[in-house]
């Protein structure tokens, strides 16, 4: 069991961290979240591998744990001190603008909308699997996805991008 778990972590931790980052918007929190999800899965690992796809199980725990975290009131606070680190080399303005725009929009989504968007679009999971992970009906996933995309269109920068692509 120890070996199987270690292999899974070694193989999938980066992908899990990326998903967690898109959910939390913070690498430190993402690392915490992945550790928390894996720590929950580890004691049941043998059972999970016998009965379920471990990746789906861990992702389900990850999303549920994050949903629990978002219910806490302190989510609105952020550390604020300015750090005199060296500036990055080159002109990164365009990339930063796009990223900041995307981050802002992601933050404006509800936790469930964000989870559906990340799981459906980024992780490219089928609707049925997302529904299983979020404990809801496939119809709910479709509706939530549509609401999330509608919100994205409200953002002028992303709307432009999406419209341009749609044409």
């Amino acid at each position: 069991m120890a070996e199987g778990f270690a292999q899974f972590v070694a193989a999938r931790e980066r992908a899990l961290q990326r998903t967690a980052y898109l959910l939390t918007g913070d690498w430190a929190l993402a690392e915490d979240l992945v550790q928390a999800a894996l720590a929950r899965a580890w004691p049941r690992w043998e059972r999970i591998t016998r009965r379920d796809d471990p990746e789906i199980y861990v992702r389900k725990v990850l999303v549920n744990t994050w949903t629990t975290w978002t219910r806490r009131r302190w989510r609105g606070e952020r550390p604020s001190a300015a750090v005199p680190d060296s500036p990055a080399a080159g002109d990164v303005a365009e990339e930063v603008t796009a990223r900041v725009g995307l981050r802002g929009v992601l933050e404006s989504l509800t936790p469930r909308q964000r989870a559906v968007l990340v799981l459906r679009v980024y992780d490219d999971l089928p609707e049925a699997q997302v529904a299983h992970m979020l404990n809801c009906a496939v119809g709910t996933v479709k509706a939530t996805m549509s609401q999330a995309l509608a919100k994205l269109r409200e953002d002028p920068q992303l709307a432009g991008l999406i419209e341009q692509e749609a044409r």
Binding site: A30, P79, S80
Partner: protein, 420 residues
């Protein structure tokens, strides 16, 4: 997937990039163990699990990693909570609280267990051991009339050392008085703990009527928290013309608790008084075996200013890595022409190897100056906290691959010390 979704996916992929750290199976297991221990609240269970993990590590089942701090311990991620000390100017006292590392939010306030106690006073008044166990010093001082008013002279002091736990949800539980932790007539200025919390080192000053003068400090007490036994490392008799122990800036232990390491100021003396007058020589010295006690004029010199690069750089703070192979140190240097530099570095002990820079801050110009407040680390010495700054910006956070991740709480209070 539609074209819109594909475009969105590309944006998300660009945004996610590559994680800065690896999550290891070992880190996850340790976290799971901590969670179980916290839930069960049973010491016996903790021992069983720790033994199980230890056996697994010995058997080579678990992967090991090397930390920048020089520890051979596992990467377990930075602690989720830390203890922060701030000065409440309205109440005119230090307030100790537990804060969430990511959000800065206060999750618990640490109260003085006894009425009239002041906790966390001194240079370092709180120290962390593994599993979010902390030790803090609290003093009860009786004041009498003096030159500056009716209650301006300390008549007597008694220091109590307490242990408490920060739970997995950031709350404080299990205050208990440490065995051997009642220090009559002594004021504690620095405290450090072994990773397992079995030993404490406390720098103490002596007589109550001289604790705020530059009188020679009493020494460093090593307390066995299981038996309550104590050993004293004390300053030796005055030897005119030599530099002698004048006080410790920071204390630390090697992982096994065998060696006590102190960053000391060494100055000339006159009788029982210390006269540093800005000419203190800073040295990192090791005293072994820590629990035996002895003279602070002995020990072995692990590091001093002469070993630092570039020449003219001075030690501001330092502690030993758990395996004793290196020191994590804060170095300050102001060359005659050019900006001042504060460097956090890992310096190998006794191998002649070069120092490795972990983080660096520079003042804009020599006149702009640079200041250093405090430096601390988690028990693995993997995650370092630094508080320093230039005239333009204050730096407060933990060092992560050459960058400083801010810890400053959202309310903007400047901490006087932080430990995790």
């Amino acid at each position: 997937m539609s074209a819109v979704e594909q475009q969105l996916r590309d944006l998300l992929i660009a945004e996610a990039g590559d994680p800065p750290h690896r999550v290891t199976a070992e880190a996850v297991r340790r976290r799971a163990v901590r969670r179980w221990v916290a839930q069960a609240g049973a010491v016996g269970l903790a021992v069983v699990l720790a033994v199980g993990l230890g056996a697994a590590v010995t058997a080579g089942v678990l992967r090991t990693g090397t930390s920048p701090g020089g520890s051979t311990g596992q990467h377990i991620g930075p602690p989720r909570y830390y203890v922060s000390q701030t000065f409440d100017s309205r109440a005119r006292k230090l307030v100790m609280s537990v804060r969430n590392r990511a959000s800065g939010r206060v999750t618990a306030v640490i109260r003085a267990p006894l009425p009239g106690e002041s906790c966390g006073q001194g240079n370092v008044g709180v120290a962390a051991a593994d599993d979010q166990t902390f030790f803090m010093t609290c003093a009860v001082t009786k004041w009498g009339p003096g030159k500056f008013g009716p209650l301006s002279t300390p008549l007597s002091v008694k220091t109590y050392i307490y242990r408490f736990q920060v739970t997995s949800s950031g709350l404080v539980s299990g205050y208990s008085l440490v065995r051997g932790g009642v220090l009559k007539g002594m004021f504690a200025d620095n405290i450090a703990a072994t990773p397992d919390g079995s030993e404490l080192a406390v720098e103490v000053t002596g007589k109550a009527d001289t604790i705020y003068t530059n009188t020679l400090p009493g020494g460093i007490l090593v307390i066995n928290t299981r038996t309550g036994s104590r050993a004293l490392w004390k300053a030796g008799p005055n030897v005119p013309g030599t530099l002698q122990y004048a006080g410790a800036t920071d204390l630390s232990f090697t992982r096994d608790g065998r060696e006590l390491v102190a960053l000391e100021a060494r100055c000339h003396r006159r009788g029982h008084r210390v006269y540093c007058n800005g000419h203190a020589e800073m040295q990192v010295r090791g005293y072994s075996p820590a629990d035996r006690g002895g003279s602070l004029e002995g020990g072995r010199v692990l590091l001093d200013d002469s070993a630092l690069k570039p020449p003219g750089t001075h030690l501001s703070d330092a502690f030993i890595t758990p395996d004793g192979s290196a020191a994590a140190a804060v170095l300050l240097g102001c060359p005659p022409h050019g900006p001042c530099t504060l460097t956090v570095a890992r310096i190998p002990i006794g191998t002649g190897g070069g120092q490795r820079v972990l983080y660096q801050v520079q003042s804009g110009s020599r006149n702009a100056g640079i200041f250093f407040r405090f430096f601390s680390a988690d028990p693995s010495r993997r995650y370092l906290i630094l508080d320093a700054g230039t005239s333009n910006a204050r730096v407060n956070g933990w060092i992560d691959h050459g960058k400083l991740v801010p810890l400053s709480p959202a309310d903007g209070n400047a901490p006087s010390y932080e430990a995790w």
